[in-house]
């Protein structure tokens, strides 16, 4: 059943232009000039700000000297997904935000792009920088093939573990492959990056769902320890009337289509409403506009200052001509014959702060209005994969459904370790990598000296 009205198809070159890399690769000369701007700080703030603590001045120095292999080694030994992170990290609130150049009144060093430049060199030339460790006879299973699992697996493989990754998707990479705006990174980039982990001898079993294709007991029996890096699941429902109408999508599901389908085949309404104002919502509204949607509305029940999207992301949406409806809350999705025709909204005002200090949005009766749209996208965060997590006996979940872990990333079930979005509730790729590496250390320690 088609949408009521879809955005007109664009010319192929227009799709290419709209989804062209927002931060293109640097040329040799650009990289040399940018690298030479770096002051080579001691105990550098950028390195401190990076969750994986990449030695930024060291890798940039190595770019300056033409030692690209050494530069990439510097990056990837701290963060095996350094390539993705170079593209998708919110660098303005991490390394580049901490760059001393701000205090100097100059633009920060383009650390993300330089990082990508160095890693591109080893990826493009198929240079293997790391070797698997001498086999230690121990086997580890990683569930999920997103950033946390990949980082954990790479560390363990370097130390001699035999690691198998089980993932339900066709392609590895998790959200890196399926969930990041196409103009930041393409699925193919993420899949290519996974080769770095494959080179270490990590085995991938894609299209395998634990509990359906392989039962947990088998994993427990055959592997010394199991790492859970399953991330989060589907987008939360709005619990609104009309939510099941044809034309209502989850944000993650919509983004995924822009990553795995040819862009001209991605279904998008002529007019779109997106509910939520986080970074994922920005990915949705910018993608919708770039796919040709005429009007794209972003609806948020609080105001501009309260939005959780980063300033840089917000700027992107503004540049793409998105209409923002602050202090607005959806009431019901309207439809005819089971197909979305509009979204009824109501204005809100900010109430008193709750116990967390967050001010609730209070609807203002009588301010209801209708947006004529053919597509409604929910971008209100993802649900935990509760059903699966509950199937692991004794795992232990927090109130919000995330996995409970100790400082070594060990769960309530001693044999299971966890990291990434399924434990932190949804953070950046670089956080998942840092946590995945920390979990690998915890897991390694436990397997060497098992307690309880």
């Amino acid at each position: 059943m088609p949408l009521r009205e879809t955005a007109p198809k664009l010319l192929p070159e227009q799709y290419e232009k709209n989804f062209a890399e927002i931060a293109p690769a640097m040329t040799k000369r650009q990289a040399a000039i940018e690298a030479s701007r770096c002051l080579y700080c001691f105990d550098a703030p950028c390195t401190i700000a990076c969750p994986t603590h990449i030695d930024v001045p060291a890798f940039i120095q190595k770019i300056s000297t033409g030692n690209l292999r050494g530069s990439a080694r510097e990056i990837l030994s701290a963060n095996i997904l350094g390539h993705s992170c170079g593209r998708v990290c919110p660098t303005e609130v991490l390394c580049e935000g901490a760059c001393v150049m701000h205090e100097k009144g100059e633009l920060p060093i383009e650390i993300g792009r330089l990082q990508r430049y160095a890693v591109d060199h080893v990826l493009a030339n198929h240079i293997q920088l790391f070797q698997p460790g001498a086999p230690n006879g121990k086997r580890v299973a990683c569930i999920g093939s997103g950033p946390a699992s990949l980082a954990c697996a790479a560390e363990l493989a370097k130390w001699g573990y035999e690691v198998t990754i089980f993932d339900r998707n066709e392609f590895p990479g998790g959200l890196n492959t399926y969930g990041i705006a196409a103009y930041k990174t393409r699925a193919a980039d993420s899949i290519r990056e996974v080769d770095l982990i494959r080179q270490l001898g990590v085995k991938f079993q894609q299209g395998v769902e634990i509990g359906r294709d392989v039962i947990l007991e088998t994993l427990e029996r055959e592997f010394g320890a199991v790492f859970i890096g399953v991330g989060l699941g589907e987008t939360w429902d709005l619990r609104l009337p009309g939510e099941n109408l044809r034309g209502v999508f989850g944000a993650i599901e919509f983004i995924e289509k822009t990553k795995v389908q040819p862009l001209h085949e991605v279904e998008v309404g002529l007019r779109v409403a997106c509910i939520g104002a986080g970074n994922t919502a920005i990915d949705v509204v910018t993608a919708a506009r770039r796919l040709g949607a005429q009007t794209v509305n972003l609806i948020y029940r609080r105001g501009e200052p309260e939005m959780s999207a980063f300033a840089y992301e917000y700027q992107l949406a503004k540049q793409d001509g998105v209409t923002f409806h602050w202090h607005t809350q959806p009431v019901r999705v309207l439809g005819i014959n089971g197909i979305v025709t509009g979204l009824e909204c109501v204005r809100t005002r900010l109430g008193p702060p709750d116990e967390k200090g967050r001010r609730a949005a209070v609807p203002l009766p009588g301010t209801e209005f209708t947006l004529d749209v053919e597509m409604v996208v929910r971008a209100v965060g993802q649900k935990p994969v509760t059903e699966f997590l509950r199937s692991v006996k004794g795992l232990g979940l927090n109130e919000n459904g995330t996995v409970k872990i100790n400082e070594n990333h060990q769960t309530g079930h001693a044999k299971f370790f966890a990291a990434g979005d399924c434990t932190n509730g949804g953070k950046e790729v670089v956080d998942a990598v840092a946590e995945g590496m920390a979990a690998a250390r915890g897991l390694d320690e436990w397997l060497k000296w098992p307690r309880a």
Partner: protein
Amino acid sequence: MADLSVKFAGVTSPNPFWLASGPPTNTGGQVARAFDAGWGGAVWKTIGEPIVNTSSRYAAIDLANVKMMGLNNIELISDRPTETNFREIYDVKKRYPKNLVIASLMVESKRESWHEIVRRAQDAGSDLLELNFGCPHGMSERGMGAAVGQVPEYTEMITSWVKEAAKIPVIVKLTPNVATVAPIALAAERGGADAVSLINTINSLMGVDLETFAPRPNVGGKSTHGGYCGPAVKPIALHLLSSVAKSVRIPISGIGGIGYWNDAAEHIALGASTVQVCTAAMHYGFRIVDDMIEGLSQYMDDHGFKTIEDFRGRALPNVRDWGDLDLNYKVIAQINAGLCIGCQLCYVACEDGAHQCIEPYKSAEKRNANGFGVHVPRIIEEECVGCNLCALVCPVENCITMKEIDAGGPAMSWNNRSRGQSDACAPPVPSGD
């Protein structure tokens, strides 16, 4: 408005800026354009028995974004017929009577050869002659250039030959490729030179291509040592200039690393009457002289100097032997925390490379616009030896300054300490090289 004209060895130059002998003064067309741009004089590309040059000829070292910090060449003297050069000198002089054309000369070390070339250069209308006793490559293998300028006796002898024939002032161009330059300058003076110029280029090998192992500049996989010049050589030039300026009475034309008016002013402050520029013109063209003239003139106005003579050599008495320096003069570094950007380059430089007088930041009291801590280090004042290194590496202007402190006691130099007296009434000690 300052008067930039200079009286040099009896002739007047509209300003102290001359093009040095080299590729920019190879032809009459170039020299004419240079005079149009504002250059006061031009030392013609050395004229002698025409030679054959190699391809390639130049090589440079870059420093990060700065191209051609140092340049080297293995080009020889003019490859054009002497007749052509002299005819063009004649034409240029006719068109630009007020600008100085200085004929740079180099011939085999025979009295008659020198007499002949001197006469021809004079007949062409040159204002001055410059004897190229400095070229360090190629020509020196044939007993010319630096082969002459490295030996005081040859320098004196050939200068005196030239003076026998010369009716116009003679400059002797000195090579820096000697253990000490003052004796050569004095030899030129004894030979009758009306002026000296320095420095010629410094012997150098520019580098090696690490793939082919061909040295640079590459001539079919081989290379040879060549003359080094450009911004990188200025400190060497200034040192040699000051030692010559303290030794001779004749005027000096300063050469070496001059790209801006302030470089020129430094040469003048150390005793040069005129300055010569080559690499900067090779890099950016003749137009650079516009800022040189304007900048120098502005500087002189700001300091109340009406003529070049008003500040020429003013820094010279301050160039002293180490033993004359006041050991009781004391400075210590100070970090302006407000300006500090937290790179901690001063800390690591002092800790690893100097005297361990800086502590790294302990807690970030300052935050940047994005809320990240700024790592301001701290000088351990009682340990600071005042070496300047932290201030030199600091990327922020005026963030680290060296503050003079009272070390107690009167001025005391090593020489005076050895003699057991303070500096209070000591006369200045002149110093040569």
